[in-house]
């Protein structure tokens, strides 16, 4: 396979075309983490996705040791991925054995050196609503400094991923809100239907039927809509329906 074909495959996978329905967050992170090393000529890659401060960051790495490193980096608040998410500084390639790296990242730098990496750079995931994470690239000592062309390609992959991730999150949010609305509206319908069923069975008014339904549900600490559905579907507590 030519490099161009490999690149095209990664973009197709990042667009979510290889999965059914809207893309999911975890799968998209895996595609980027595993596709980056060979395409960009680096030793390893990891993606950190932290779209807002209230949700736990999600991490994927091209191998388990960099996954663990970036996972710990979130807790330490260290490393280039953390810096580029927080300070929005332009990406710079840092030497892990340099003084500034050891000072800024007292836990991160020694661990990364121990894994056999000499340089590290983080590219921001830039979506419609801002920076939502970072693509972190690790190079071995024998690999030279990454060229501007490589960094531009890496940034394109990171930007493309960021937009896909936003779509995935937006679809999740919409699904949740629409499901809540549907549940609220269909509960009202089934409660009205149950009032009619009980009123017919027990020969009472619909208002009295509702009072009975509510009292029955409350005394058993169950939702009125759940009991109502049982009444409508004909498998309610016989004590309620007078059967």
């Amino acid at each position: 396979m030519t490099p161009e074909q490999r690149l095209a495959d990664v973009f197709v996978a990042l667009a979510g075309c290889t999965t059914d329905g809207p893309p999911d967050v975890a799968g998209t992170l895996e595609v980027l983490a595993h596709g980056s090393p060979s395409l960009l000529g680096v030793g390893a890659a990891a993606v950190v996705f932290a779209p807002d401060e209230y949700e736990a960051a999600q991490v994927a790495g091209s191998d388990p040791s960099v996954s663990r490193l970036e996972h710990d980096a979130v807790g330490w608040r260290e490393g280039p991925g953390n810096d580029c998410r927080r300070t929005r500084t332009p990406p710079t390639q840092a030497a892990l054995d340099g003084r500034s790296a050891r000072q800024r990242w007292p836990h991160y730098a020694p661990r990364a050196l121990g894994l056999g990496y000499a340089r590290v750079v983080a590219l921001p995931l830039r979506g419609h609503t801002g920076i939502s994470g970072a693509l972190v690239l690790f190079s071995h000592a024998r690999q030279s400094v990454l060229t501007p062309g490589t960094l531009t390609l890496g940034q394109s992959m990171a930007d493309f991923t960021a937009v896909t991730l936003e779509r995935a999150r937006e679809a999740d949010r919409s699904r949740t809100l629409a499901a809540q609305l549907e549940l609220a509206l269909s509960s009202r319908i089934v409660i009205e239907q149950a009032k009619g069923v009980l009123a017919a069975r027990l020969e009472m008014t619909v208002d009295d039927a509702f009072a009975l339904l509510r009292t029955h549900a409350r005394s058993r600490q169950r939702l009125v809509s759940v009991v109502a559905r049982e009444v409508v579907e004909g498998h309610a507590d016989p004590g309620l329906t007078g059967e």
Binding site: E170, A171, A178, E182, L185, R188, E192, G196, A200, V232
Partner: protein, 284 residues
């Protein structure tokens, strides 16, 4: 004049004004973010900022549009004198924004079954009931195909034979509907009847539908009940439950019987339902 009714109306108007103010704040924040990203987009290699700016502009437009719907409702409600004329409806302002007097909102479940409707006037109520009774029409098509629908004149009857004939008898000659779409699917449709040709560009309708979906029906400040204006067809559902118990049939079959009875007898669903609730035996 009913002083208690007046106080309640003023209370609703205050709630609507609060929602309008919050929507305007959100619109301004989105516009500031869009301005910021447009500046950044001017630099070469920073084109992605233009996309971010466009997203913020679209959100801002939705917030502004929902703010003017809330303001229109607040104004009507504050000016209304209880006992004189019908109580103001949120949908009246929606219809106005779409360039018509008659607009109807239909909410559907994931199986495309109608869950609730909200209408601006008697004409849109009658049109929406036709769609519910006959099971065909523009809102249903817009929601299931997830695309806009438009038909006028004889084309209405060609497309929906039963619905079209009945719609013509209401004096309606043109109808358009757009889906209420989200990133994950569709929650219903917005339909307008006899829109004034100059105002009702399809784009206007889509913009109102987007503001309704994102701000008024879903989201942090949503009120899908539209200040009590959403019709859950309580009487019809009660009658369906009652009929199903009397006939020993599933509630969906009872509902279909009520619809058939209304259609055959040229009665409203409410009229048929009230007879059932009163115990009239004709349907049993």
């Amino acid at each position: 004049m009913n002083p208690q009714g007046h106080e309640e109306a003023l209370g609703l108007a205050a709630v609507a004004l609060g929602r309008a103010a919050r929507a305007l704040e959100r619109a301004e924040r989105a516009e500031a973010a869009a301005d910021h990203h447009e500046l950044l987009a001017a630099k070469p290699g920073r084109e992605f900022h233009a996309r971010i700016a466009a997203t913020h502009r679209r959100s801002a437009a939705c917030h502004r549009s929902s703010a003017s719907l809330q303001e229109a409702f607040a104004r009507r409600t504050a000016e209304w004198t209880p006992g004189q004329g019908a109580e103001p409806r949120f949908m009246t302002g929606v219809a106005e924004a779409c360039g018509t007097d008659s607009a109807a909102l239909t909410l559907v479940d994931s199986g495309r079954n109608q869950l609730a409707v909200a209408v601006s006037d008697e004409q849109s109520r009658a049109a929406q009931e036709l769609e519910y009774v006959l099971g065909e029409g523009p809102s249903r098509d817009a929601a299931s195909a997830h695309r806009p629908v438009h038909a006028s004149g004889p084309a209405i009857e060609t497309r929906w034979p039963g619905y079209g004939r009945a719609l013509a008898s209401l004096g309606i000659t043109s109808v358009a509907a757009v889906p209420l779409g989200t990133a994950a699917g569709c929650i219903g449709a917005l339909a307008v009847f006899d829109p004034r040709p100059v105002l009702a560009e399809p784009a206007d309708l889509a913009a109102v539908a987007e503001a309704l979906t994102r701000i008024v029906l879903l989201g942090p400040d949503a009120d899908p009940d539209l200040y009590g204006g959403t019709d859950h067809r309580a009487t019809v559902q009660q009658a369906a439950g009652m009929l199903s118990a009397r006939l020993g049939c599933p509630v969906d079959d009872a509902l279909a019987l009520i619809k058939a009875r209304a259609f055959a007898g040229e009665l409203s669903l409410d009229a048929v339902s009230l007879r059932i609730l009163r115990g009239d035996p004709e349907l049993d």
